[in-house]
Symmetry: C2
Subunit: 214 residues, 2 copies
Amino acid sequence: MINESVEDYLGAIYRLRGDHQTPLPLSRLQEYFDFSRVSIHEMIQRLEEQGFVTYHPYHGVLLTDSGETVAIALLRRHRLWERFLTDMLQLPWDEAHEVACQLEHAAAEGVTERLADLLGNPEACPHGAAIPPHFRESRGEPLTTLKAAETEHVILRIWPEESEVLRFLKQVHLGPGSHLRVVQQTHQQTLAEVEGSVLSLPTHVAEAIWVTSI
Amino acid sequence: MINESVEDYLGAIYRLRGDHQTPLPLSRLQEYFDFSRVSIHEMIQRLEEQGFVTYHPYHGVLLTDSGETVAIALLRRHRLWERFLTDMLQLPWDEAHEVACQLEHAAAEGVTERLADLLGNPEACPHGAAIPPHFRESRGEPLTTLKAAETEHVILRIWPEESEVLRFLKQVHLGPGSHLRVVQQTHQQTLAEVEGSVLSLPTHVAEAIWVTSI
DNA sequence: TAAAAGTGTAAGGATAACCTTACAATTCTC
DNA sequence: GAGAATTGTAAGGTTATCCTTACACTTTTA
Protein backbone atom coordinates (compact mmCIF):
# COMPACT_ATOMS: atom_id res chain seq x y z
CA MET A 1 0.00 0.00 0.00
CA ILE A 2 1.50 3.28 -1.08
CA ASN A 3 0.69 6.06 1.34
CA GLU A 4 2.41 9.36 1.97
CA SER A 5 4.90 7.87 4.41
CA VAL A 6 5.96 5.19 1.99
CA GLU A 7 6.33 7.77 -0.77
CA ASP A 8 8.36 10.04 1.48
CA TYR A 9 10.77 7.28 2.39
CA LEU A 10 11.21 6.06 -1.16
CA GLY A 11 11.66 9.62 -2.38
CA ALA A 12 14.28 10.28 0.28
CA ILE A 13 16.20 7.15 -0.59
CA TYR A 14 16.19 8.17 -4.22
CA ARG A 15 17.36 11.69 -3.45
CA LEU A 16 20.07 10.65 -1.04
CA ARG A 17 21.56 7.69 -2.80
CA GLY A 18 24.70 8.21 -4.80
CA ASP A 19 25.06 5.57 -7.48
CA HIS A 20 22.64 2.72 -7.94
CA GLN A 21 24.69 -0.12 -6.45
CA THR A 22 25.90 1.28 -3.16
CA PRO A 23 23.31 0.84 -0.42
CA LEU A 24 22.19 3.99 1.36
CA PRO A 25 23.04 3.77 5.11
CA LEU A 26 20.01 4.11 7.36
CA SER A 27 21.90 6.79 9.25
CA ARG A 28 21.47 9.05 6.23
CA LEU A 29 17.72 8.59 6.39
CA GLN A 30 17.85 9.17 10.11
CA GLU A 31 19.38 12.61 9.75
CA TYR A 32 17.19 13.42 6.74
CA PHE A 33 13.94 12.74 8.57
CA ASP A 34 15.19 13.35 12.10
CA PHE A 35 13.44 10.19 13.29
CA SER A 36 14.91 7.68 15.71
CA ARG A 37 17.08 4.83 14.47
CA VAL A 38 14.43 2.39 15.62
CA SER A 39 11.64 4.05 13.66
CA ILE A 40 13.68 4.20 10.48
CA HIS A 41 14.61 0.57 10.85
CA GLU A 42 11.01 -0.44 11.44
CA MET A 43 9.83 1.39 8.38
CA ILE A 44 12.59 -0.02 6.20
CA GLN A 45 11.50 -3.50 7.18
CA ARG A 46 7.96 -2.68 6.17
CA LEU A 47 9.22 -1.34 2.85
CA GLU A 48 11.21 -4.49 2.29
CA GLU A 49 8.19 -6.68 3.01
CA GLN A 50 6.29 -4.71 0.41
CA GLY A 51 9.08 -5.17 -2.09
CA PHE A 52 10.10 -1.52 -2.46
CA VAL A 53 13.64 -1.90 -1.13
CA THR A 54 16.25 -4.51 -0.35
CA TYR A 55 17.87 -4.12 3.02
CA HIS A 56 21.47 -5.07 3.71
CA PRO A 57 22.12 -4.95 7.47
CA TYR A 58 25.03 -2.74 8.50
CA HIS A 59 25.23 -1.39 4.96
CA GLY A 60 21.95 0.14 3.97
CA VAL A 61 19.02 0.00 1.55
CA LEU A 62 18.67 -0.15 -2.19
CA LEU A 63 15.52 0.66 -4.12
CA THR A 64 13.99 -2.19 -6.07
CA ASP A 65 12.57 -1.44 -9.50
CA SER A 66 9.11 -0.97 -8.06
CA GLY A 67 10.44 1.28 -5.32
CA GLU A 68 12.33 3.35 -7.84
CA THR A 69 9.24 3.72 -9.98
CA VAL A 70 7.33 5.17 -7.05
CA ALA A 71 10.21 7.49 -6.15
CA ILE A 72 10.66 8.77 -9.68
CA ALA A 73 6.96 9.50 -10.03
CA LEU A 74 7.04 11.37 -6.73
CA LEU A 75 10.05 13.49 -7.65
CA ARG A 76 8.51 14.26 -11.00
CA ARG A 77 5.36 15.55 -9.32
CA HIS A 78 7.35 17.44 -6.72
CA ARG A 79 9.49 19.26 -9.23
CA LEU A 80 6.66 20.00 -11.61
CA TRP A 81 4.70 21.58 -8.78
CA GLU A 82 7.78 23.61 -7.89
CA ARG A 83 7.92 24.93 -11.43
CA PHE A 84 4.22 25.68 -11.32
CA LEU A 85 4.62 27.58 -8.07
CA THR A 86 7.52 29.71 -9.25
CA ASP A 87 6.56 30.12 -12.90
CA MET A 88 2.80 30.51 -12.71
CA LEU A 89 2.16 31.67 -9.16
CA GLN A 90 5.34 33.76 -8.90
CA LEU A 91 6.11 32.16 -5.56
CA PRO A 92 9.70 32.95 -4.49
CA TRP A 93 11.86 29.97 -5.38
CA ASP A 94 13.06 29.55 -1.83
CA GLU A 95 9.47 28.92 -0.69
CA ALA A 96 8.46 26.58 -3.50
CA HIS A 97 10.14 23.48 -2.12
CA GLU A 98 8.15 23.36 1.09
CA VAL A 99 4.80 23.97 -0.55
CA ALA A 100 5.59 21.34 -3.18
CA CYS A 101 6.22 18.84 -0.38
CA GLN A 102 2.52 18.98 0.34
CA LEU A 103 1.33 19.02 -3.24
CA GLU A 104 3.59 16.20 -4.43
CA HIS A 105 1.42 13.46 -2.97
CA ALA A 106 -1.67 14.64 -4.76
CA ALA A 107 -2.41 14.38 -8.45
CA ALA A 108 -2.93 11.13 -10.26
CA GLU A 109 -0.85 10.44 -13.34
CA GLY A 110 -3.25 12.11 -15.74
CA VAL A 111 -3.15 15.32 -13.76
CA THR A 112 0.64 15.31 -13.59
CA GLU A 113 1.00 14.96 -17.32
CA ARG A 114 -1.44 17.78 -18.01
CA LEU A 115 0.51 19.91 -15.57
CA ALA A 116 3.76 19.08 -17.36
CA ASP A 117 2.20 20.12 -20.66
CA LEU A 118 0.93 23.36 -19.22
CA LEU A 119 4.46 24.16 -18.03
CA GLY A 120 6.00 23.24 -21.36
CA ASN A 121 7.57 19.98 -20.16
CA PRO A 122 10.39 21.61 -18.20
CA GLU A 123 13.62 19.70 -17.68
CA ALA A 124 14.60 21.03 -14.29
CA CYS A 125 13.04 22.41 -11.12
CA PRO A 126 13.78 25.95 -9.91
CA HIS A 127 16.66 24.61 -7.80
CA GLY A 128 18.26 22.94 -10.77
CA ALA A 129 17.27 19.32 -10.13
CA ALA A 130 16.32 17.35 -13.22
CA ILE A 131 12.66 16.50 -13.59
CA PRO A 132 12.31 12.78 -14.40
CA PRO A 133 12.36 11.31 -16.98
CA HIS A 134 14.87 14.00 -17.92
CA PHE A 135 18.37 13.39 -16.73
CA ARG A 136 21.35 15.52 -16.00
CA GLU A 137 24.60 14.09 -17.30
CA SER A 138 26.73 15.72 -14.63
CA ARG A 139 25.64 17.04 -11.30
CA GLY A 140 28.90 19.00 -10.99
CA GLU A 141 30.75 19.44 -7.74
CA PRO A 142 30.07 21.43 -4.57
CA LEU A 143 31.58 24.90 -4.48
CA THR A 144 33.60 23.94 -1.41
CA THR A 145 35.71 21.46 -3.38
CA LEU A 146 36.98 24.14 -5.75
CA LYS A 147 40.28 25.93 -5.38
CA ALA A 148 40.59 29.67 -5.95
CA ALA A 149 41.22 30.08 -9.67
CA GLU A 150 40.51 32.10 -12.76
CA THR A 151 38.04 29.55 -14.07
CA GLU A 152 34.48 30.68 -14.26
CA HIS A 153 31.78 28.30 -13.05
CA VAL A 154 28.04 28.10 -13.46
CA ILE A 155 25.62 26.94 -10.78
CA LEU A 156 23.89 23.73 -11.82
CA ARG A 157 21.92 23.00 -8.74
CA ILE A 158 21.25 23.82 -5.10
CA TRP A 159 21.16 20.72 -2.97
CA PRO A 160 20.02 19.84 -0.39
CA GLU A 161 17.13 22.27 -0.58
CA GLU A 162 17.16 23.62 2.94
CA SER A 163 15.01 26.67 3.51
CA GLU A 164 17.71 28.63 5.26
CA VAL A 165 20.21 28.05 2.48
CA LEU A 166 17.65 28.84 -0.21
CA ARG A 167 16.65 32.07 1.51
CA PHE A 168 20.27 33.12 1.80
CA LEU A 169 20.92 32.47 -1.86
CA LYS A 170 17.80 34.24 -2.99
CA GLN A 171 18.84 37.28 -0.97
CA VAL A 172 22.19 37.50 -2.73
CA HIS A 173 20.55 36.79 -6.10
CA LEU A 174 22.35 33.53 -6.67
CA GLY A 175 20.69 30.47 -8.17
CA PRO A 176 20.95 27.83 -10.88
CA GLY A 177 22.44 29.49 -13.96
CA SER A 178 24.41 32.11 -12.02
CA HIS A 179 28.06 32.51 -13.00
CA LEU A 180 30.81 32.86 -10.43
CA ARG A 181 34.52 32.49 -9.79
CA VAL A 182 36.11 31.30 -6.56
CA VAL A 183 38.38 33.95 -5.10
CA GLN A 184 39.31 32.41 -1.80
CA GLN A 185 38.56 29.19 0.02
CA THR A 186 38.73 28.85 3.82
CA HIS A 187 37.14 26.58 6.37
CA GLN A 188 34.57 29.16 7.36
CA GLN A 189 33.64 30.55 4.00
CA THR A 190 34.04 30.68 0.27
CA LEU A 191 34.68 34.05 -1.35
CA ALA A 192 33.18 34.20 -4.81
CA GLU A 193 33.18 36.87 -7.44
CA VAL A 194 29.79 37.38 -8.98
CA GLU A 195 29.24 40.00 -11.65
CA GLY A 196 32.14 42.10 -10.50
CA SER A 197 31.46 42.10 -6.77
CA VAL A 198 32.74 39.62 -4.22
CA LEU A 199 30.38 37.59 -2.07
CA SER A 200 31.09 35.74 1.15
CA LEU A 201 29.38 32.37 1.31
CA PRO A 202 29.38 30.48 4.63
CA THR A 203 30.57 26.90 4.22
CA HIS A 204 27.16 25.34 4.89
CA VAL A 205 25.81 27.42 2.02
CA ALA A 206 28.75 26.88 -0.31
CA GLU A 207 28.58 23.11 0.04
CA ALA A 208 24.98 23.16 -1.19
CA ILE A 209 26.00 24.93 -4.40
CA TRP A 210 26.83 22.47 -7.17
CA VAL A 211 28.76 23.97 -10.04
CA THR A 212 30.60 23.07 -13.19
CA SER A 213 33.24 24.99 -15.07
CA ILE A 214 32.37 26.74 -18.33
CA MET B 1 -4.03 21.34 16.05
CA ILE B 2 -5.47 21.54 12.58
CA ASN B 3 -4.66 18.44 10.57
CA GLU B 4 -6.35 16.99 7.53
CA SER B 5 -8.95 15.11 9.55
CA VAL B 6 -9.96 18.17 11.44
CA GLU B 7 -10.22 20.15 8.22
CA ASP B 8 -12.27 17.42 6.59
CA TYR B 9 -14.74 17.34 9.45
CA LEU B 10 -15.10 21.10 9.65
CA GLY B 11 -15.47 21.32 5.88
CA ALA B 12 -18.14 18.63 5.91
CA ILE B 13 -20.09 20.36 8.65
CA TYR B 14 -19.97 23.58 6.67
CA ARG B 15 -21.09 21.92 3.46
CA LEU B 16 -23.89 19.93 5.06
CA ARG B 17 -25.37 22.46 7.41
CA GLY B 18 -28.44 24.31 6.31
CA ASP B 19 -28.79 27.61 8.12
CA HIS B 20 -26.38 28.76 10.78
CA GLN B 21 -28.52 28.15 13.86
CA THR B 22 -29.81 24.64 13.38
CA PRO B 23 -27.28 22.06 14.61
CA LEU B 24 -26.18 19.46 12.08
CA PRO B 25 -27.13 15.95 13.30
CA LEU B 26 -24.16 13.63 13.65
CA SER B 27 -26.05 11.11 11.54
CA ARG B 28 -25.51 13.42 8.55
CA LEU B 29 -21.77 13.28 9.12
CA GLN B 30 -22.00 9.55 9.57
CA GLU B 31 -23.48 9.01 6.12
CA TYR B 32 -21.20 11.63 4.57
CA PHE B 33 -18.01 9.97 5.80
CA ASP B 34 -19.34 6.45 6.14
CA PHE B 35 -17.68 6.11 9.53
CA SER B 36 -19.25 4.49 12.57
CA ARG B 37 -21.42 6.50 14.92
CA VAL B 38 -18.84 6.01 17.65
CA SER B 39 -15.98 7.39 15.57
CA ILE B 40 -17.93 10.44 14.52
CA HIS B 41 -18.91 11.08 18.10
CA GLU B 42 -15.33 10.71 19.31
CA MET B 43 -14.04 13.15 16.73
CA ILE B 44 -16.77 15.66 17.45
CA GLN B 45 -15.75 15.65 21.08
CA ARG B 46 -12.17 16.32 20.09
CA LEU B 47 -13.32 19.18 17.88
CA GLU B 48 -15.36 20.62 20.73
CA GLU B 49 -12.38 20.45 23.09
CA GLN B 50 -10.40 22.40 20.55
CA GLY B 51 -13.13 24.98 20.24
CA PHE B 52 -14.08 24.37 16.63
CA VAL B 53 -17.66 23.27 17.26
CA THR B 54 -20.31 23.28 19.93
CA TYR B 55 -22.01 19.95 20.43
CA HIS B 56 -25.65 19.63 21.45
CA PRO B 57 -26.38 16.01 22.33
CA TYR B 58 -29.28 14.49 20.42
CA HIS B 59 -29.37 17.54 18.18
CA GLY B 60 -26.04 17.99 16.51
CA VAL B 61 -23.06 20.30 16.05
CA LEU B 62 -22.62 23.93 15.19
CA LEU B 63 -19.40 25.50 13.97
CA THR B 64 -17.87 28.12 16.20
CA ASP B 65 -16.35 31.19 14.58
CA SER B 66 -12.93 29.61 14.60
CA GLY B 67 -14.31 26.37 13.13
CA GLU B 68 -16.09 28.29 10.43
CA THR B 69 -12.94 30.18 9.55
CA VAL B 70 -11.09 26.92 9.01
CA ALA B 71 -13.95 25.49 6.95
CA ILE B 72 -14.28 28.55 4.75
CA ALA B 73 -10.56 28.60 4.03
CA LEU B 74 -10.69 24.93 3.13
CA LEU B 75 -13.63 25.30 0.77
CA ARG B 76 -11.99 28.28 -0.85
CA ARG B 77 -8.88 26.25 -1.55
CA HIS B 78 -10.89 23.27 -2.71
CA ARG B 79 -12.93 25.24 -5.20
CA LEU B 80 -10.02 27.27 -6.48
CA TRP B 81 -8.12 24.07 -7.17
CA GLU B 82 -11.18 22.72 -8.96
CA ARG B 83 -11.19 25.77 -11.20
CA PHE B 84 -7.49 25.38 -11.80
CA LEU B 85 -7.94 21.73 -12.74
CA THR B 86 -10.76 22.36 -15.19
CA ASP B 87 -9.70 25.73 -16.56
CA MET B 88 -5.93 25.35 -16.78
CA LEU B 89 -5.37 21.60 -16.91
CA GLN B 90 -8.51 20.85 -18.91
CA LEU B 91 -9.40 18.09 -16.50
CA PRO B 92 -12.99 16.92 -17.07
CA TRP B 93 -15.18 18.64 -14.50
CA ASP B 94 -16.49 15.36 -13.17
CA GLU B 95 -12.95 14.37 -12.14
CA ALA B 96 -11.92 17.70 -10.66
CA HIS B 97 -13.67 17.25 -7.34
CA GLU B 98 -11.78 14.16 -6.30
CA VAL B 99 -8.38 15.50 -7.23
CA ALA B 100 -9.16 18.75 -5.46
CA CYS B 101 -9.92 16.77 -2.29
CA GLN B 102 -6.24 15.95 -2.14
CA LEU B 103 -4.95 19.36 -3.11
CA GLU B 104 -7.22 21.32 -0.80
CA HIS B 105 -5.14 20.62 2.30
CA ALA B 106 -1.99 21.98 0.74
CA ALA B 107 -1.18 25.60 0.01
CA ALA B 108 -0.67 28.21 2.68
CA GLU B 109 -2.67 31.40 2.45
CA GLY B 110 -0.17 33.19 0.24
CA VAL B 111 -0.25 30.42 -2.30
CA THR B 112 -4.04 30.32 -2.34
CA GLU B 113 -4.30 34.02 -3.03
CA ARG B 114 -1.81 33.86 -5.87
CA LEU B 115 -3.78 30.98 -7.30
CA ALA B 116 -6.98 32.99 -7.07
CA ASP B 117 -5.32 35.85 -8.93
CA LEU B 118 -4.03 33.54 -11.63
CA LEU B 119 -7.55 32.25 -12.16
CA GLY B 120 -9.05 35.74 -12.22
CA ASN B 121 -10.71 35.51 -8.81
CA PRO B 122 -13.53 33.24 -9.92
CA GLU B 123 -16.81 33.32 -8.02
CA ALA B 124 -17.87 29.71 -8.40
CA CYS B 125 -16.38 26.25 -8.84
CA PRO B 126 -17.09 24.14 -11.93
CA HIS B 127 -20.04 22.53 -10.15
CA GLY B 128 -21.60 25.87 -9.38
CA ALA B 129 -20.68 26.23 -5.71
CA ALA B 130 -19.68 29.73 -4.62
CA ILE B 131 -16.02 30.26 -3.81
CA PRO B 132 -15.73 32.03 -0.44
CA PRO B 133 -15.75 34.92 0.27
CA HIS B 134 -18.17 35.14 -2.64
CA PHE B 135 -21.71 34.23 -1.81
CA ARG B 136 -24.65 32.98 -3.74
CA GLU B 137 -27.91 34.68 -2.81
CA SER B 138 -30.07 31.70 -3.69
CA ARG B 139 -29.03 28.12 -4.04
CA GLY B 140 -32.26 27.35 -5.90
CA GLU B 141 -34.18 24.13 -5.49
CA PRO B 142 -33.56 20.52 -6.53
CA LEU B 143 -35.02 19.51 -9.88
CA THR B 144 -37.10 16.85 -8.14
CA THR B 145 -39.20 19.47 -6.35
CA LEU B 146 -40.37 21.03 -9.62
CA LYS B 147 -43.66 20.25 -11.32
CA ALA B 148 -43.90 19.76 -15.07
CA ALA B 149 -44.43 23.25 -16.51
CA GLU B 150 -43.62 25.66 -19.29
CA THR B 151 -41.16 27.56 -17.11
CA GLU B 152 -37.56 27.38 -18.16
CA HIS B 153 -34.95 26.84 -15.50
CA VAL B 154 -31.20 27.23 -15.33
CA ILE B 155 -28.87 24.91 -13.41
CA LEU B 156 -27.16 26.77 -10.57
CA ARG B 157 -25.28 23.96 -8.98
CA ILE B 158 -24.68 20.24 -8.76
CA TRP B 159 -24.73 19.06 -5.17
CA PRO B 160 -23.67 16.77 -3.60
CA GLU B 161 -20.75 16.25 -5.93
CA GLU B 162 -20.84 12.50 -6.26
CA SER B 163 -18.65 11.06 -8.99
CA GLU B 164 -21.36 8.88 -10.46
CA VAL B 165 -23.79 11.78 -10.73
CA LEU B 166 -21.14 14.10 -12.15
CA ARG B 167 -20.12 11.53 -14.78
CA PHE B 168 -23.74 11.04 -15.77
CA LEU B 169 -24.31 14.76 -16.19
CA LYS B 170 -21.12 15.28 -18.11
CA GLN B 171 -22.16 12.53 -20.50
CA VAL B 172 -25.45 14.23 -21.27
CA HIS B 173 -23.73 17.62 -21.46
CA LEU B 174 -25.58 19.09 -18.53
CA GLY B 175 -23.94 21.35 -15.96
CA PRO B 176 -24.17 24.68 -14.18
CA GLY B 177 -25.56 27.21 -16.64
CA SER B 178 -27.53 24.67 -18.69
CA HIS B 179 -31.15 25.58 -19.42
CA LEU B 180 -33.95 23.04 -19.12
CA ARG B 181 -37.68 22.59 -18.68
CA VAL B 182 -39.38 19.84 -16.69
CA VAL B 183 -41.62 17.74 -18.91
CA GLN B 184 -42.66 14.99 -16.54
CA GLN B 185 -41.99 14.12 -12.92
CA THR B 186 -42.26 10.57 -11.55
CA HIS B 187 -40.77 8.70 -8.64
CA GLN B 188 -38.16 7.03 -10.79
CA GLN B 189 -37.13 9.87 -13.02
CA THR B 190 -37.49 13.42 -14.19
CA LEU B 191 -38.00 14.05 -17.89
CA ALA B 192 -36.42 17.31 -18.92
CA GLU B 193 -36.33 19.13 -22.22
CA VAL B 194 -32.87 20.39 -23.03
CA GLU B 195 -32.23 22.22 -26.27
CA GLY B 196 -35.13 20.59 -28.08
CA SER B 197 -34.52 16.99 -27.03
CA VAL B 198 -35.91 15.24 -23.98
CA LEU B 199 -33.63 13.68 -21.39
CA SER B 200 -34.46 11.12 -18.73
CA LEU B 201 -32.80 11.86 -15.42
CA PRO B 202 -32.94 9.19 -12.69
CA THR B 203 -34.18 10.58 -9.39
CA HIS B 204 -30.82 10.32 -7.63
CA VAL B 205 -29.37 12.48 -10.37
CA ALA B 206 -32.26 14.92 -10.57
CA GLU B 207 -32.16 15.61 -6.84
CA ALA B 208 -28.55 16.72 -7.15
CA ILE B 209 -29.46 19.35 -9.75
CA TRP B 210 -30.24 22.68 -8.15
CA VAL B 211 -32.09 25.07 -10.44
CA THR B 212 -33.86 28.38 -10.46
CA SER B 213 -36.44 29.72 -12.90
CA ILE B 214 -35.44 32.33 -15.41
C1' DT C 1 43.53 -6.58 17.62
C1' DA C 2 41.13 -4.11 21.00
C1' DA C 3 38.50 -0.29 21.88
C1' DA C 4 35.39 3.03 19.82
C1' DA C 5 31.87 4.01 16.82
C1' DG C 6 28.08 2.67 14.41
C1' DT C 7 24.09 -0.32 13.68
C1' DG C 8 20.50 -3.82 14.87
C1' DT C 9 16.73 -5.20 17.62
C1' DA C 10 13.80 -6.51 21.66
C1' DA C 11 10.50 -4.58 24.86
C1' DG C 12 7.31 -1.39 26.12
C1' DG C 13 4.82 3.18 25.21
C1' DA C 14 2.16 7.02 22.92
C1' DT C 15 -1.14 8.97 19.76
C1' DA C 16 -4.62 9.58 16.18
C1' DA C 17 -8.20 7.75 13.89
C1' DC C 18 -10.68 4.24 12.82
C1' DC C 19 -13.52 -0.38 14.31
C1' DT C 20 -17.41 -3.61 16.83
C1' DT C 21 -20.40 -4.90 20.52
C1' DA C 22 -23.52 -3.84 23.95
C1' DC C 23 -26.34 -1.26 26.57
C1' DA C 24 -28.35 3.29 28.06
C1' DA C 25 -30.65 7.60 27.23
C1' DT C 26 -33.51 10.56 24.48
C1' DT C 27 -36.60 11.83 20.90
C1' DC C 28 -40.01 10.78 17.56
C1' DT C 29 -44.31 8.75 16.03
C1' DC C 30 -48.55 6.63 16.29
C1' DG D 1 -47.92 7.71 26.64
C1' DA D 2 -45.70 3.63 24.90
C1' DG D 3 -43.07 1.46 21.70
C1' DA D 4 -39.94 2.37 17.86
C1' DA D 5 -36.25 4.74 16.19
C1' DT D 6 -32.42 7.39 16.93
C1' DT D 7 -28.50 8.83 19.44
C1' DG D 8 -25.01 8.53 23.22
C1' DT D 9 -21.34 6.15 25.44
C1' DA D 10 -18.52 2.58 27.83
C1' DA D 11 -15.25 -1.06 26.92
C1' DG D 12 -12.03 -3.17 24.28
C1' DG D 13 -9.60 -3.68 19.56
C1' DT D 14 -6.70 -2.55 15.37
C1' DT D 15 -3.25 -0.21 12.56
C1' DA D 16 0.35 3.01 11.24
C1' DT D 17 3.88 5.71 12.70
C1' DC D 18 6.38 7.66 15.77
C1' DC D 19 9.05 7.41 20.72
C1' DT D 20 12.79 5.78 24.60
C1' DT D 21 15.67 2.53 26.92
C1' DA D 22 18.71 -1.16 26.93
C1' DC D 23 21.60 -4.35 25.25
C1' DA D 24 23.78 -7.02 21.38
C1' DC D 25 26.26 -7.30 17.22
C1' DT D 26 29.34 -5.56 13.40
C1' DT D 27 32.47 -2.44 11.35
C1' DT D 28 35.91 0.98 11.60
C1' DT D 29 39.96 2.99 13.49
C1' DA D 30 44.00 3.67 16.05
